[in-house]
């Protein structure tokens, strides 16, 4: 049975090991002090790796010492998590999609697409309402950032119109 702490411990160990590898690749400069640019990163890397392993060991011991009822509860902790990760990944995909289109379509159009798409993805009914909220939200945010705060948001295909 794999518990959350086992996954957390393994992930921390992996991050620690990777960071340690890259920290050891840092070349000391001739201007460096006795600790050097790699001094503390190496300490952080070793500590992360070691603590990840400690968490992993604690998790294994906890499973071994757990009663059958506790084990059943721990096993249940993962139920539905795969679906949750997929739903979250879907929302992330919309955000990444926005990043990919915003320079081409421009800020205003990209938001007008993003807002209704995300609202429908999160459970809003398809119809005129999400589209209206999308267009309205995009215009309000564009006015706020581009016109009020003076941030130059990407213009994209609307460059000719000055939007």
């Amino acid at each position: 049975m794999i518990t959350r702490d086992m996954v957390g411990g393994a992930a921390a160990s992996l991050i620690g090991a990777l960071y340690l590898f890259y920290a050891s690749q840092l070349r000391p400069s001739s201007l460096a002090d006795s600790v050097g640019p790699q001094g503390l990163p190496l300490v952080y890397g070793w500590l992360t790796l070691a603590l990840g392993l400690v968490l992993l060991a604690q998790a294994f011991i906890a499973v071994l010492r757990a009663s059958p009822a506790e084990r059943a509860k721990q096993a249940d902790a993962w139920s539905g998590q795969g679906r949750r990760i997929l739903w979250a990944a879907g929302l992330l995909a919309f955000a990444v999609g926005y990043l990919l289109i915003v320079e081409t379509l421009g800020y205003l159009l990209s938001l007008a697409v993003l807002i209704p798409a995300v609202a429908i993805y999160l459970g809003a009914r398809f119809g005129w309402r999400p589209l209206a909220v999308g267009v309205g939200g995009a215009v309000v945010l564009w006015l706020m950032f581009d016109k009020l705060l003076g941030v130059g948001m990407p213009e994209g295909v609307l460059r000719g119109l000055g939007l």
């Binding site: 959350r4 921390a12 070349r27 600790v35 929302l91 990043l99 995300v118 809003a124 999400p130 948001m153």
Partner: protein, 504 residues
């Protein structure tokens, strides 16, 4: 008196007044939305503060915190769903009063008690923060290193049920802080050839990602529905006999809230529940608690509002945030190149006095906007979550882009959101990561500078009196926390599943 005189001119500064009113209004709205914590409300505002004057930027963030603490009580009373963690204790009697048709009075008690708690907290903030400025000039690199260690030692109390997880979370923050240019030699570290990483990763990207983006990802994965508010309450303030009856519970709330606010990791939630329990213990009508007791609202609401001010004391004095919200406030200081801590009073006294004035205005503003904004709060809470979250996502993406006009920054924020999502899932607390991130540079640069100054003699950290005192304090903090954990383990007590900083 000197502090008061220095603060007064800022009460007439239009930028402070506007920032305080906008902040408290935004805070009330954000706090009223279930799932949007004060720290998320503040994080959403953080990108906007880049272009603002430093004093106004800090005031708008701190005022948001004040407003959010009251805002959280609105859905707690009306739909039994606390808008913030700290409002959870208010549900117990607030919702009961609502069922008895006294929702307006419950909201009035919450607002009026919050006003009292905030005023007490502000007085303490002004009294306790300033004396530390007198030692500012005595701070040397070893003392700054020790100050950073003191900040990191707080992790021992912020780690919830697992100290190991808290330490790993802090190391993640320290690791992120090493990306960019080395503080002593100027060489590049972990930039992988990317010019965007040369300046390091700004804490604001990580904070918005960890707090706000990860919350959206978590909400997308849950797809829960929030109840709708059916009633249309109007705020009613207590009459004199009731106000007199509430005084003891408000005193208890003020005392506990002020103490817990200064203590790292304690925060508004613990203060609210402790105040509720103590108010019940000392009440002449303990049997009414849980059945719609006005004291059961007054005590926690006074406490969580007192926390909102006193939690700023360790940030201003030592640069150490004890909660998620104060970590965001610290981020606001860093954005403007201000390092909170002993030198802050020397370098940016106007920002501090502006903050005091702004908080005073925000507390008054909370009373006005609390009454005026109630219909809007009800309207906002009743909006369907999918629309609200879609607009919040658009706001986050736009806000981060607006900082430097960089899509790379937006990508970094999304990566931090993914990290935060998995940290939530695996029950790792956030606050140690933020502490590691904001203190990493301070610790490393001053550690190495101290050794350069001393010719690699580690005794420099002991010879410097301030450094020694801070290191001893850090050791006491760590051993005290460890001792409490050992005692709790021996008694087989259950610790809280998360620290205040984990956001659940």
């Amino acid at each position: 008196m000197e502090t008061l005189l220095a603060t007064l001119p800022f009460l007439l500064d239009p930028s402070i007044l506007i920032a305080a009113f906008v902040g408290v209004t935004w805070g009330i709205l954000g706090g009223a939305l279930p799932g949007i914590s004060p720290s998320i409300t503040m994080a959403l505002l953080l990108p906007f503060t880049y272009t603002m004057d430093p004093a106004a930027a800090i005031v708008i963030l701190a005022s948001t915190y004040v407003g959010a603490e009251y805002g959280g009580s609105v859905p707690a009373i009306l739909i039994r769903t606390p808008g913030t963690n700290a409002a959870a204790a208010t549900v117990l009697d607030g919702y009961e009063m609502n069922l008895q048709g006294k929702a307006g009075l419950a909201l009035g008690i919450s607002l009026y008690s919050g006003f009292i708690g905030s005023m007490v907290g502000l007085v303490l903030l002004m009294l306790l923060s300033a004396p530390l400025s007198s030692v500012a000039l005595a701070f040397t690199p070893p003392a700054y290193f020790a100050l950073g260690i003191l900040g990191l030692s707080v992790i021992a109390t912020l780690s919830g049920d697992s100290l190991v997880k808290g330490l790993i979370a802090a190391l993640l923050g320290l690791i992120i802080a090493t990306i960019g240019t080395d503080p002593v030699t100027g060489s590049n570290r972990f930039t992988f050839g990317s010019a965007d990483l040369l300046g390091g990763i700004e804490p604001v990207m990580i904070m918005v990602g960890l707090f706000a983006m990860s919350e959206l990802l978590a909400q997308a994965s849950k797809r829960g529905e929030v109840d709708k508010i059916r009633s249309r309450p109007r705020i009613e303030f207590p009459d004199w006999p009731l106000a007199k009856r509430l005084i003891p519970s408000q005193l208890i709330g003020s005392a506990i809230g002020s103490f817990e606010g200064v203590m790292p990791g304690a925060g508004g939630t613990i203060a609210s529940f402790m105040s509720y329990n103590e108010a019940r213990r000392w009440s002449k009508h303990p049997e009414e608690f849980g059945k719609g007791s006005p004291e059961g609202i007054a005590a926690p609401e006074t406490a969580n509002n007192a926390v909102a001010e006193t939690a700023i004391i360790p940030v201003l004095s030592f640069g150490i945030p004890g909660s998620n919200s104060t970590a965001i406030l610290l981020g606001g200081f860093l954005i403007h190149g201000l390092q909170p801590g002993p030198m802050l009073f020397e370098q940016a006294g106007d920002v501090i006095y502006g903050l005091y004035a702004g908080l005073f205005v925000a507390i008054i503003g909370m009373m006005i906007m609390g009454i005026a904004m109630l219909p809007l709060c009800v309207w906002m809470v009743n909006r369907p979550l999918p629309y609200l979250n879609a607009v919040i996502l658009a706001l986050i993406l736009s806000g981060i882009y607006s900082i430097h006009g960089s899509l790379f920054d937006v990508g970094l924020m999304l990566a931090a959101g993914v990290l935060g999502f998995f940290m939530r899932m695996l029950r790792f607390p956030f606050l140690p990561t933020v502490l590691g991130l904001v203190l990493g540079f301070l610790v490393e640069s001053n550690f190495r500078r101290s050794l350069v100054l001393s010719g690699d003699d580690y005794m420099i950290f002991v010879d410097d009196r301030i450094s020694l005192a801070l290191l001893v304090l850090s050791a006491l903090f760590i051993f005290g926390s460890l001792a409490r954990r050992v005692i709790a383990a021996l008694r087989k007590e259950n610790r809280l599943a998360f620290s205040e900083g984990s956001e659940g």
